[in-house]
Symmetry: C2
Subunit: 456 residues, 2 copies
């Protein structure tokens, strides 16, 4: 490991220079004008990994190509096999006028490298690649077989990866997936994200009269759909922030005392959090901290309300209908499809006799959790600690990360999320950057990881 | 009266022919292309009334002219003085393709005269004019002094009438106003409309976070404005259809047993009413019939709801705000401005601590009622009975009629609404028509009215 450390330390500037080369590609997957930049970027990555001694390939897809790079391995290798996932596509850089330096001319300022894609996600998976380079170039035997899978459609929710995983299920058979595409609170709190919330979407619509009615002539003798919807939805959450759908919490996994202690270690200031959200005060399910509420507890969220007249001034009508877009965030071990049916059923049971109700079921994604005390998780935590010099924290992510679900569903493996992004990295915003200390410590974390995972 | 009846009977065809002439004017106040048609129509009416022996005048206004026509009177007349209000402007006729005969080529079919403005309102005030003609042409002394006030901005809510009433307050000093611009259930149920609901409008808005938030990252720790609004509004009406604002019903005049008996006489079929509204079932304040609910009880109506994402598909956000447009229908003796303050205060008191609330107060109109048992109302009812041969019903109108408020406020007099329109007259719709029996019986009703009012 000493040799590896020395290689990484002495190569630091070259690693940054190479990342700069990688970041120069305007690989914006959403914009068709950048189609050639996408293939150029994929080709560059394949050539670069090949130059390090990996076996690289560029897979053509219906959309943007996928690059794979496998470490050298024997035919009947008994080493554990891990995938390292990343994406070379980036968010559109617009609005350009808000950037302090051009998004595709990577610029160093105050220990940060500014460029679109620096943190999301080129810099993060490049760190893993540089750790592998250290093994290969110092002649240190890699204790694991690794396959990098770097896609080009993450930012556009493309279907290429899913198809690719299905078609290459055999070659991709592995013991786990490592992804650095999440974040950590700060350099003193490196983090393993071990749980994600799922999601279930639906739209509910109430139809009353067959047209908007004159509120003077008819109002008072007919139920107002806007009122009916308000009463229906208003009852879905009680004063304690609990969702009132019977059975909704039946499958919710309770946080262990250990998990609650770990979540409590995540730096948090209520004043700063309120300021970040721009709210007067917070509100959530009683008995849980804000971090628990948004990471480990399910929600019932109104995303949109529509009824009647929404233009200027007033219009004296009883609107003919009212509708709401709803999404629920779900937590382990809720089953998204089951919850969706449960809620739709409950809504229908509450439909007032004066209304016709339509419930349109939307997309679902199951929640995800990997044991934070399992041997692989422990190996990950040890690697973070070794690289950052601080006890890592355990995070739960409130949103969904589709790739994690794909890996679980198609390859039947767990994903370890070892994010290197800092909260001020401006992901998806102007002046995106990567902290170069996070980058270099990330390389060292990765170097440790393969050794620790192999031992686990 | 015999002479009058004979004159009216023998003149029937000529009256219809003259009404046809009047209806040929495309006096569409909303469309500037018809500006000249408006002045031509006003001029025709002034000339016609002058030819009958009335003293006519066309008042220029900032908008469309107002025509007045006064019956001959002595300098110090001690006769009671009544205004007869009408409007010569009509709704736009579009969509033209839905008319069975051109809107401004009056056409007779099955006892009805089809034309835009036939019932709303040329035919109705023309009936009063023909009754006056009968008095004048038969040399029968008119027992009242009458002044016709026929405006040209009723359909566009113009300000000309209000200004005119204020400027001519002295000349228009009178004992009451007679208006035929409402309806009756059918020819067997002639009607006096004796009460109108008022209105009070407001808009309430809840602001939560200072932008739409990611429902995964933050959802669960922050109150959803759409949910907060649903809970706020959903509580404003209870399961019995009662508005829950404390003090809301304090000033509501109770229906007398006589009024309830009279309202019960209005033809009503629940099945037909449900079909008309296109609802599965009705809903209103418990303890009141549908006619009472929409005529004599106040409402709290959501006219529009707005929050978050309303486009296609789903968007996983906690919206930053939610708002609702509200109008309340008010009944005698509620004070619209007082109720508006009361409700705004109540909403503000219920604002959750997590939200900032904005309440924008909108327009108000006070409710109106004239005693249905007073001597003038009795005279009106007697005239209806004499002309239609059936006991008239007493109606309460659920909407507001601004002119009634203007007459009450500026001239300090009551208005008697003796509507001749039938439910199938297609007011504001293609194929508007007037029933010629309603028209001719209306003339006879008017002839009786002046005698009965003078005696009252």
């Amino acid at each position: 490991m000493k040799q590896l450390k020395q290689y990484i330390d002495t190569s630091r500037q070259r690693f940054i220079d190479e990342l700069v080369d990688y970041l120069r590609f305007p690989s914006v997957s959403a914009q068709s004008a950048h189609k050639k930049d996408m293939t150029d970027c994929a080709r560059w990555l394949a050539d670069h990994t090949k130059s390090l001694g990996l076996k690289s390939r560029v897979y053509r897809t219906a959309g943007h190509p996928i690059v794979t790079a496998a470490t050298p391995r024997t035919r009947n290798s008994t080493k554990p096999h891990f995938l390292v996932y990343g994406h070379y596509d980036v968010q559109p850089p617009e609005p350009l006028e808000l950037w302090d330096s051009p998004p595709f001319e990577p610029t160093l300022r105050g220990g940060n490298l500014y460029a679109r894609g620096a943190s999301d996600n080129k810099g993060q998976h490049f760190a893993h690649l540089k750790a592998v380079e250290a093994y290969l170039k110092t002649g240190t035997e890699l204790p694991c077989d690794l396959t990098f899978v770097v896609e080009g459609e993450e930012e556009v929710g493309g279907e290429a990866l899913v198809k690719f995983l299905k078609q290459n299920k055999c070659d991709l058979k592995c013991d786990g997936v490592v992804v650095s595409d999440t974040g950590m609170p700060d350099l003193k709190h490196p983090a393993l994200t071990y749980a994600l919330r799922g999601v279930a979407a639906l739209e509910v619509r109430l139809d009353g009269p067959d047209r908007d009615l004159h509120s003077g002539i008819y109002g008072g003798s007919v139920k107002n759909p806007g009122m009916a919807l308000s009463q229906l939805l208003g009852g879905m959450i009680d004063n304690n922030g609990r969702i009132t759908v019977p059975g909704f919490y039946d499958d919710v996994a309770k946080l262990t005392a250990y998990e609650r202690r770990q979540l409590a270690r995540v730096p948090y200031s209520e004043a700063k959090y309120k300021k970040l959200l721009g709210v007067k005060s917070l509100f959530g399910e009683k008995g849980f901290t804000a971090n628990e509420q948004r990471g480990a507890r399910p929600t019932f969220e109104i995303n949109g309300l529509t009824s009647g007249y929404q233009g200027e001034g007033s219009k004296t009508i009883v609107p003919c209908s009212a509708s709401a877009k709803i999404t629920m965030r779900l937590v382990p071990n809720q089953d998204a499809a089951k919850i969706l049916r449960l809620v739709a059923c409950h809504l229908k049971a509450l439909c007032p006799p004066t209304m016709r109700m339509t419930v349109d079921l939307g997309h679902v994604a199951d929640p995800y959790v990997v044991s934070p005390t399992g041997p692989l998780a422990k190996a990950a935590l040890d690697s973070l600690k070794a690289a950052f010099g601080h006890n890592p924290v355990l995070l739960r992510e409130g949103g969904s990360i589709p790739i994690v679900e794909h890996f679980a569903r198609i390859l039947k493996v767990d994903t370890y999320l070892l994010g290197l992004a800092l909260p001020d990295d401006n992901l998806h915003s102007p002046n995106e950057k990567i902290d170069l200390e996070a980058f270099t410590r990330g390389i060292w974390m990765s170097a440790n990881l393969w050794t620790n995972l192999a031992k686990a």
